[in-house]
């Protein structure tokens, strides 16, 4: 579609820059920095998963296969143009919402929650796909309006956000619904929405908290109560958070050593290979290990925002920016929850927690970010 010569014609000042680089990245349409950081993050994830899974190489293999699948999806999406995503945004949104309706009607799941659609030999969580579709749709909608968006467009965007959020909250899956809402709201925030709207929204949100409490399910309320005072039920719902804090705290500065964390290896830490895996990092690799991991995350987020800022059009900016910030929300909510700063909501640690759908979704998101990167010149006309 576009080659170097065309690019040089559009952007003569980029000439030297392009000379220094091999054409590999532009040929594969991948971002080298992001790719490197993701590889490091996946490697780190597999490394700690081996320990967190009780040294079960089977987990590591299955996770590596998912990561591989995620890379394939990422590379594939990176080949498509942002314009292509934009064209399909509304259709994808409709399909996504329909799938969520299907989940409500025929979904399967466990522990009182219906989250999955089961197809023969394969099952998936429509909510995961919605994490990509929603920012895409909102970004597409706003990109074609004059920014900052008017109140009317903000309202339409909020409606677009509310529909899937409510469906997912009803599954019930509070963590995912918050992530989805956040991914949509980030588009609005990045679009330059006026500060007064932001303050008004924050004010209304705070006032609505008691109402939220009223509609929450019992187990969700229990989580909040446990968060406020984990010691009140040390063997029941407080167990997880007490054990994860113990794991983190006992790790100290340099940790107990890989495979030597007593909290994780002796099964005191629940969900050690999924949502609570950061506690394994903290226990075995210490404060230093966590800082290394956080540094990787910060670099990925920084790179994502740089790509977004360099995007030539609002659509690419908003899409890449909101996906990047959503990625950060994963990191913040997960670590905040495991370290006892936030209530326990089921949010995995991106690329590190064991589990299929989230890795593929995240990789797909990075594929879209890379697509924005590769085609940053395309709409520069």
């Amino acid at each position: 579609m576009i080659n170097n010569r065309e690019f040089e014609r559009y952007m003569p000042e980029a000439h030297d820059h392009l000379r220094q680089r091999p054409s590999l990245w532009s040929y594969t349409r991948l971002d080298g920095w992001l790719l490197l950081l993701l590889f490091l993050l996946c490697g780190f994830g597999l490394f700690i998963l081996y320990s967190a899974s009780g040294q079960d190489i089977g987990y590591v293999t299955r996770q590596a296969i998912r990561m591989g699948a995620g890379f394939v999806v990422m590379v594939f999406l990176a080949q498509l143009t942002p314009r292509f995503f934009g064209r399909w945004a509304l259709w994808l949104y409709v399909i996504g919402v329909l799938l969520l309706v299907c989940v409500m009607l025929f979904g399967v799941g466990a522990k009182g929650a219906q989250r999955w659609i089961a197809l023969p030999g394969f099952r998936f969580q429509p909510a995961e796909i919605m994490k990509l579709i929603l920012p895409l749709t909102v970004a597409y909608y706003l990109a074609h309006r004059s920014l900052p968006p008017s109140f009317r467009h903000i309202f339409i965007c909020l409606a677009l956000i509310a529909v899937p959020t409510v469906f997912i909250m009803k599954q019930p899956d509070l963590g995912t619904s918050l992530l989805i809402a956040a991914s949509g709201v980030f588009v609005l925030l990045l679009s330059g929405i006026l500060w007064r709207y932001i303050f008004i929204a924050v004010g209304i949100g705070s006032a609505a908290l008691p109402g939220l409490w009223a509609v929450m399910k019992d187990y969700q309320r229990q989580r909040v109560l446990t968060f406020l005072d984990p010691e009140s039920d040390p063997l029941g719902s407080g167990w997880n958070i007490i054990q994860s804090k113990t794991a983190i705290g006992s790790g100290g500065i340099d940790g107990k050593g890989w495979l030597s964390g007593t909290q994780s290896q002796l099964d005191f830490l629940p969900e050690s290979h999924t949502d609570f895996i950061i506690a394994v990092v903290a226990e075995e690799l210490g404060f230093i290990g966590v800082l290394i991991l956080l540094t990787l995350y910060v670099l990925i987020i920084a790179r994502g925002l740089v790509i977004a800022a360099r995007a030539p059009d609002s659509f690419g900016r908003l899409l890449a920016g909101s996906l990047t910030l959503t990625f950060f929300v994963y990191v913040f909510v997960n670590i905040g929850m495991v370290s006892g700063l936030l209530p326990v909501v089921g949010v995995p640690l991106p690329m590190v927690s064991y589990g299929g759908t989230s890795i593929v979704t995240l990789m797909a998101g990075f594929g879209m970010i890379m697509s924005v990167y590769s085609y940053r010149t395309m709409l520069l006309k």
């Binding site: 309006r145 004059s146 983190i248 705290g249 100290g252 007593t262 002796l266 920016g321 950060f328 700063l341």
Partner: protein, 631 residues
């Protein structure tokens, strides 16, 4: 679209960059909050969480001590510890207890009663993560069956533990007692720390009496456990101190010969070494296998034992209260001559009966035609009832009660037989207290021939023989000879048993005239070796001299003038045959009491058995070895 303002691309891009920078700033601030939180947990509060993590993983577990072994006087092992495999369930790892039990029962036979006692144990267990046994004594086949099904039976395990094993089974049960699984009541009595890991406790006899010595001291190990309490590795260990090995005075060989001699009868024999008071043999038949009780007896087996008319659970040797019959006569004679009522040469004419008043109730002699003229020696040798009727009439009950009391009747003198009974030594006070009636002269007459209210255990009879053999010097009967210890040089030594804190030994029998010992011992010698002694057949051809006394105790009262015919009486109404003795007379090495319930005559049944026991002990003759050679 037309109503929209025109898009200003460069302004939008600027706005976005401002927002993006702002967003990144917020991201950094929030990450700083996370880092601060982790710093607080990992650096500031590290010590507290490190301690919590340590407390999580490390547990102090008690390790049971090995129970001390029990040996006989010749070093033969009488009570051993053997590994036994039992299948246990760890409740914490089981999702559905009933389903697990059903699955387990499809693999190995488990009775309803075992399930019932498992559930009982489940409710009275002491610690979390303590496995509860379901069935004991698994065979190798059963272990294999459970092992291959481990994967579908979470929480089910095969565990090995050392449990008591009595290699000689029923031969020693009445002498040694047994251990059994500790119950809640016993747990309340013992030191809960020391018994934290112990599952068995002495229930009866020596095992119960020397529980403190045999049990040992609990050990501890610091173990690393996972969240489900399963031990991953041992970090530190303080070994338990095993219980002391103890040595008994029992002579297993003598015990087994003795047991065989009265096999198939309801009988009891106690043999004591008069020099030490050590019990050489303590037999009560029928007996039962103590191994059945160690891990819990089935209700069917227990019912069979309990309902057997021969009362195998009954320890006749120390709890059987028998009228001693004529075996008591040497001591009655001693009370008469030593209290000065008569001299040994006091002679009466025995017509075959005695009456208190002319034409009154006739107290019959066992020999219908009477013994004619008899003095004390002849009265003992021939067991002349009439002489004793006469003498007891003269002296009354008080000297008899006093002297018999000095020989240990009516009280428990044994040092380490917790179940021993004191039986009854009648006296005026006793009768007034127990029967609320005054003492009649007729009671004295009955008492002088060991009938009436007077009852004694075989152990008491054997003990009285030991006191006579020692000429009044008291050595209380005991089973424990000593405790095995390792001395400073590393050699195994036997530390003699110390009973100084135990029960006080009765005062020695001091006679007004020491010569009277010779008088009654002569009478007893004549029982065995004089030409008309009642047990002359049992005393014949003996290379050593025996002092003995036969006894035949009536089980049913015989009406006046009725004729006693042993053949016509139902077996359970036949007389008890008794015999007491010590030997050799000049240097007593063994004192013995034999009781054969419904055995008939003391001289015909009990004395020959006693002679074989004496020969076995003093001469080393095994009566059964010859019989086997003949075949």
């Amino acid at each position: 679209m037309g109503a929209e303002r025109l898009k200003d691309h460069s302004k939008e891009s600027r706005t976005f960059k401002v927002r993006a920078v702002l967003a990144f700033f917020v991201v950094v601030v929030m990450l700083c909050i996370l880092v601060g939180r982790l710093y607080y947990l990992q650096v500031v509060e590290h010590d507290r969480y490190a301690a919590m993590s340590e407390a999580n993983r490390v547990q102090l577990q008690p390790v049971p001590p090995t129970r001390g072994l029990i040996y006989d006087r010749n070093g033969v092992l009488l009570a051993d510890n053997r590994p036994s495999y039992s299948v246990t369930i760890l409740k914490e790892e089981v999702n559905d207890l009933d389903a697990t039990l059903v699955a387990l029962r499809s693999l190995i036979p488990i009775t309803d009663r075992e399930v019932e006692s498992f559930k009982k144990r489940l409710y009275q267990r002491r610690r979390p993560f303590e496995s509860i046994p379901v069935r004991f004594r698994l065979t190798e086949d059963e272990i294999a069956k459970i092992s291959v099904n481990y994967h579908r039976l979470p929480g089910v395990r095969v565990e090995a533990e050392l449990i008591r094993y009595y290699p000689y089974g029923k031969s020693l049960v009445h002498a040694m007692g047994y251990v059994g699984r500790i119950n809640e009541k016993e747990l309340g009595r013992v030191d809960s720390t020391n018994y934290a890991a112990t599952h068995y406790i002495g229930k009866l006899g020596i095992e119960k009496f020397y529980e403190d010595k045999l049990h040992g001291e609990v050990g501890f190990q610091k173990v690393e456990t996972n969240a489900r309490g399963r031990v991953m590795r041992v970090l530190e260990r303080r070994d338990p101190r095993p219980g002391s090995d103890i040595v008994l005075h029992l002579d297993l060989r003598l015990q087994q010969i003795t047991e065989k001699l009265i096999e198939g009868r309801r009988a009891s024999i106690v043999a004591i070494d008069p020099k030490t008071g050590g019990i050489l043999a303590l037999v009560s038949t029928p007996a039962y296998d103590p191994n059945m009780f160690v891990t819990g007896i089935s209700s069917k087996d227990y019912k069979a034992l309990r309902e057997s008319p021969d009362l195998p659970l009954f320890n006749r040797a120390i709890r059987g209260r028998y009228p001693p019959g004529s075996t008591i006569k040497p001591m009655i004679a001693l009370s008469a001559i030593d209290s000065g009522v008569v001299t040994p040469n006091y002679t009466i004419f025995d017509p075959g009966w005695y009456s208190l008043t002319h034409g009154g109730r006739k107290y019959r002699d066992w020999k219908k035609v009477g013994h004619g003229r008899v003095n004390m020696y002849e009265a003992i040798a021939q067991s002349c009832d009439t002489w004793f009727y006469d003498v007891s009439h003269k002296m009354g009950v008080d000297p008899m009660s006093k002297y018999l009391g000095m020989f240990g009747f009516g009280q428990v003198t044994s040092l380490d037989l917790p179940e021993a009974l004191g039986a009854i030594l009648p006296s005026k006070e006793w009768k007034k207290r127990a029967r609320k009636t005054p003492w009649y002269t007729g009671d004295s007459l009955n008492m002088s021939i060991g009938q009436g209210f007077f009852v004694a255990t075989p152990l008491q009879l054997a003990t009285s023989m030991a006191v006579i053999a020692n000429r009044g010097e008291w050595v209380a009967p005991r089973l424990l000879k000593g405790t095995k210890k390792i001395n400073d040089a590393g050699a195994e030594v036997l530390e003699s048993a110390d009973f100084s804190d135990g029960k006080p030994t009765p005062a020695d029998v001091v006679l007004n005239d020491e010569q009277h010992w010779n008088d009654i011992i002569k009478g007893m010698r004549d029982v065995m070796h004089a030409k008309n002694g009642t047990a002359r057949r049992s005393g014949a051809n003996s290379s050593y001299e025996i002092a003995g006394k036969t006894g035949t105790a009536q089980v049913v009262g015989i009406k006046q003038d009725a004729v006693y015919d042993a053949d016509k009486l139902a077996e359970i109404h036949r007389d008890h045959a008794l015999f007491t003795a010590f030997a050799p007379v000049d240097d007593p090495k063994i004192a013995i009491a034999v009781i054969v319930e419904n055995g008939g005559g003391g001289s015909s049944t009990a004395a020959p058995i006693a002679r074989k026991v004496l020969d076995a002990y003093l001469l080393g003759i095994d009566p059964f070895a010859e019989a086997e050679d003949d075949k």
